[in-house]
């Protein structure tokens, strides 16, 4: 047996986000879903969109340590931007997606200037306040957003000029899946980038980071804007797939739900976003169909049980389980 060279052992001491079997499993599952559960495609598409959204939150919260209860600001901005773009400029979806991302990134940059000056509860409240102000704005700007009735009446052109959105939701599913795969790949790339490590350092000890010469707030702002753009992508997807944008896309429930999904799945691991969104959405859907009035209680019990038995979320549980398997 040869002892590993110090270089390789040091390189291994960096936690790394390589592609692994799990990614393949997830992709396989997504493809299989299309064929096995094609009657559930609307739900499956909604799940994919929420995964994108949860990923964007994981970047801000799990990696940057930015605490937020107002992430819907980005989802909603992306959704409205994409919806308005389709209505007034062009029904082309891919450019609409980018418009949604850009709009959300701008909102992220602006609100980040305020939000990132603070920490803890104050930060949470500021994010909440920013999102609420946007919500009120959308409510007041009724001529533009159609206010409480929801933005409707636009249509989205076929993806790449080839694939028409159909009522069974096949195109929507593939489109959302493609976006998710790209976003996920980007997130992996991002968190294993030097900036990804910097973010973790800032989360752990911002004072020390500053004294290593890192412009902490600027780095966080970058991260926040990226996270916002990804959140905007989720919103834009939703607007394009559903042909309607409601005020609730900016609402507190949206922010709270995605946070619960991420916490359920586990932060700082990317695939926590997958597990959390899938479990939450499926449970919500199933429980809601079985016993609509009491499903909230079932969800509540699940959350408590997860905190008790999987304090680092489902992905943490999975990680512990696989590492134990691995060492045996």
């Amino acid at each position: 047996m040869t002892t590993p060279s110090p270089n390789s052992s040091v390189a291994r001491a960096f936690s790394r986000h390589r592609y692994n079997l799990l990614d393949l499993v997830l992709l396989g599952a997504a493809v299989a879903t299309f064929f096995l559960a094609d009657l559930y495609l609307a739900l499956a598409t909604a799940v994919l969109i929420m995964i994108v959204f949860a990923l964007s939150l994981d970047i801000a919260q799990g990696y940057g340590g930015i605490e937020t209860l107002g992430h819907a600001a980005f989802f909603g901005t992306g959704a409205y931007a994409a919806g308005l773009y389709a209505m007034h400029v062009s029904p082309e979806p891919i450019s609409g997606l980018f418009v949604g991302m850009a709009a959300a990134a701008v909102v992220g940059l602006l609100s980040g200037l305020a939000v990132l000056r603070t920490a803890g509860l104050t930060q949470i409240m500021l994010t909440l306040v920013c999102a609420t102000l946007l919500l009120e704005l959308a409510n007041v700007a009724k001529p533009l957003t159609m206010g409480d009735d929801g933005l409707t009446g636009y249509s989205v052109a076929p993806v790449l000029g080839l694939f028409q959105f159909d009522i069974e939701g096949r195109t929507a599913y593939w489109y959302a899946l493609a976006v998710l795969v790209l976003v996920y790949a980007f997130c992996k790339f991002l968190v294993s980038s030097p900036l990804g490590l910097t973010a973790q350092g800032v989360r752990e000890n911002p004072t020390r980071m500053a004294l290593l010469g890192v412009p902490v707030r600027r780095r966080l702002l970058t991260l926040y804007a990226i996270s916002a753009a990804l959140g905007g992508a989720a919103g834009a997807l939703s607007a394009q797939v559903n042909n309607i944008v409601g005020l609730d896309s900016l609402g507190f429930t949206m922010s709270a739900n995605v946070l619960v999904m991420l916490a359920l799945g586990g932060t700082g691991r990317l695939y926590g976003a997958f597990l959390g969104a899938i479990v939450f959405m499926l449970l919500a859907d199933r429980a809601a169909a079985l016993d609509p009035t009491n499903w909230l209680a079932a969800l509540g019990v699940l959350l408590i049980v997860v905190v008790r038995f999987a304090p680092t979320g489902l992905s943490g549980c999975l990680a512990r389980w696989t590492s134990r398997e691995g060492t045996q």
Partner: protein
């Protein structure tokens, strides 16, 4: 054969009351028909809209229609959730019986919408008319700051002005307000004879009605006039402060007709002696009647156009009085009652004291 009907409502969250009432109305109707329309067994699939979330409404309607193959949709609590289904019903030609959303314009968005509830305009106009006839010549209109509230402001304001009244103030109250002192102070300063109010039923409307009494605005000679907010279930927590509250609405469980008495008796027998039907359960009850009619006309085979044709001009006797469907707008035509809150058998209830017969939704006329 089996025919499936999708019921969309709020079964969780702050508006569960709607879900319960819809379900009760639907179940009661089906129970009275032995679960069958003709030889077709009816299965109802209930889904939770979970708040005012059009994306979810779209997803649910799509799943119900595409996956579960329902032939009819019924329900809908908020305008956005009703509109969320519009693409789906247009593309699949699925009739959707709207039970609540009070925005008049909704039925214009699709040929397959038909309303079994009411619109805000329908009940607002008689209320304003009545107030004017009582000699109230200046009024404040006060509504929650959201789409239905804006509709109500417009309905009250335009009608009142047209009659020759003077709107001395228009107040928009942000959603979620719990303390009304500032608004009531403003009302007091404006010294109107009447206040027309519209709010989402719940903490807001209850808080407003209670504070109105608490601040003795009634003693200052101001009359509070409402529509939807005076329902029996909602005035109970307000307590005696609600006594004398005047409202216009298309139904009251204390409506003195044989058909309604029968309906109330059946409702109580099924759901408990202290329970009372409401606008929501009666809408669901009548909604099922519409579906029965459509099922009969299509003989259980899905055909949205044929089904919709069958209910145009359909007339029947409902617990709320004689009703019909306007063939042009697919709006329901119904009586509107003026009611006053009184103690009836020791409980607060709405006593009808005046009837405006066969009121058509006026919005479609005005905005033709």
């Amino acid at each position: 054969a089996e025919i499936k009907v999708g019921l969309l409502s709020q079964f969780s969250g702050a508006y569960t009351w709607w879900g319960r009432e819809y379900q009760r109305g639907v179940d009661l109707y089906l129970a009275q028909r032995g679960g069958k329309f003709g030889e077709h067994t009816i299965t109802v699939l209930s889904r939770d809209e979970a708040g005012s979330n059009p994306q979810r409404a779209r997803q649910l309607s799509q799943e119900l229609v595409v996956r579960d193959k329902v032939q009819y949709l019924i329900g809908g609590v908020f305008t956005p959730t009703v509109l969320g289904a519009v693409d789906v019903i247009n593309q699949t030609k699925t009739p959707y019986v709207i039970l609540n959303s009070g925005t008049s314009s909704v039925t214009d968005k699709s040929q397959y919408y038909v309303r079994a509830g009411f619109t805000q305009w329908t009940v607002s106009i008689p209320l304003v008319q009545w107030a004017y006839d009582q000699g109230m010549k200046n009024a404040v209109v006060l509504a929650a700051d959201y789409a239905p509230g804006h509709d109500a402001l417009e309905a009250f304001g335009k009608t009142f002005a047209k009659l020759g009244g003077k709107v001395v103030g228009e107040i928009k109250v942000p959603m979620g307000t719990t303390d009304f002192s500032s608004y009531l102070q403003r009302v007091r300063d404006l010294k109107p004879q009447a206040v027309f109010m519209f709010m989402p039923v719940g903490p807001m409307s209850a808080g407003m009605i209670r504070s109105f009494k608490e601040r003795e605005l009634d003693k200052a000679g101001i009359t509070l006039l409402v529509t939807n907010e005076a329902q029996e279930e909602d005035i109970a927590p307000i307590g005696d402060a609600a006594l004398g509250l005047t409202s216009a609405l298309h139904y009251s469980p204390y409506l003195d007709t044989p058909l309604n008495k029968e309906f109330v008796t059946a409702y109580k027998a099924k759901y408990g002696k202290d329970e009372l039907p409401s606008v929501a359960s009666v809408a669901a009850y009548d909604g099922m009647r519409l579906i029965e009619r459509m099922v009969g006309a299509t003989n259980g085979v899905k055909d949205g156009d044929k089904a919709m044709a069958a209910i145009k001009d359909y007339k029947w006797d409902s617990p709320r009085g004689p009703v019909s469907i306007d063939p042009r707008t697919r709006e329901i035509v119904q009586n509107v009652y003026m009611r006053k809150v009184e103690k009836i058998d020791g409980k607060l209830g709405n006593k009808v004291f005046h009837t405006y017969p066969a009121v058509k939704d006026p919005w479609h006329e005005i905005n033709k």
